[in-house]
């Protein structure tokens, strides 16, 4: 198989229902979601987000992920050439499965957040024996 050349994914801005009070931009992180019998795994790309600047919450069956980017390192830097914009990240998903909220695990590495949401016992598929 020949190596596939990686293309740039242009950042998509969040379409806001309300205006924010801070004038920073917010982007939609690229996300992979896959499911096994026991858990739902959500992987999000949020370059520049440290684990201290991350908020994950579930409310009324909606998973909400918010990542803030620290702009301090851009202080006093004069941009001379730019190809991408920087901003915070936000994305939310309506969960279709019952999740065991006490067992959720989150890990962020190299700007990629991995959330493992284990399904609640009643939501796991049951095998029904045919007699």
């Amino acid at each position: 198989m020949s190596p596939q050349e990686l293309q740039v994914q242009h950042k998509r801005e969040v379409e806001k229902k309300q205006e924010t009070t801070v004038p920073a931009r917010t982007f939609v992180p690229s996300t992979d979601i896959f499911e096994t019998e026991t858990a739902l795994t959500i992987v999000m790309e949020m370059p520049g987000t440290d684990k201290a600047d991350l908020d994950v919450s579930i409310e009324d069956g909606v998973l909400s992920v918010e990542g803030r980017v620290n702009f301090d390192k851009y202080e006093r830097l004069q941009p001379v050439y730019t190809e991408y914009n920087i901003g915070h990240y936000h994305r939310s998903f309506q969960l279709s499965n019952k999740i065991d909220q006490s067992q959720i695990s989150a890990e962020i590495k190299d700007g990629v957040l991995t959330l493992v949401l284990p399904k609640a016992a009643e939501a796991k598929p049951r095998r029904i024996a045919v007699t």
Binding site: T31, E83, G111
Partner: protein, 139 residues
Amino acid sequence: MPRYHPIDALFDLQRALEASLESDWLRSGTAGTGSFPPINVFQQGDTLIAVLEVPGVDKTDLDIQAKDNAIRISGKKAISYPQGVSVHRRERLTGSFDRTLTVPMQIDTDAIKAEYRDGILTLFIPRADSDKPRIIKIN
């Protein structure tokens, strides 16, 4: 003097991004504008700071080479899915990349520093001493 607020830095970046369509700085200098990874370049005194977004790329999969006034950044981004899963959404891209950044000045290739953190690669590129303007004294 009022403190320079970080948000102002963002505005500067946004203005620069909008202005970059008219600017020809580096325009012919990067091999493949629009290719991965996207690059922002900043200036701080005599140092250029190139910031690249490479989320999900392992440090060991990044290769940086410098020669004359060109810096080559190559590597690969791999994603492995566990066996037997049903994929609901697949938005992240994988593959290899190879990009060359050519800067319009002589650089000190031995003194280039690279940092990788939170999916962001930062290159500190110092201007070569031979490229700095020389002050000529009048006798």
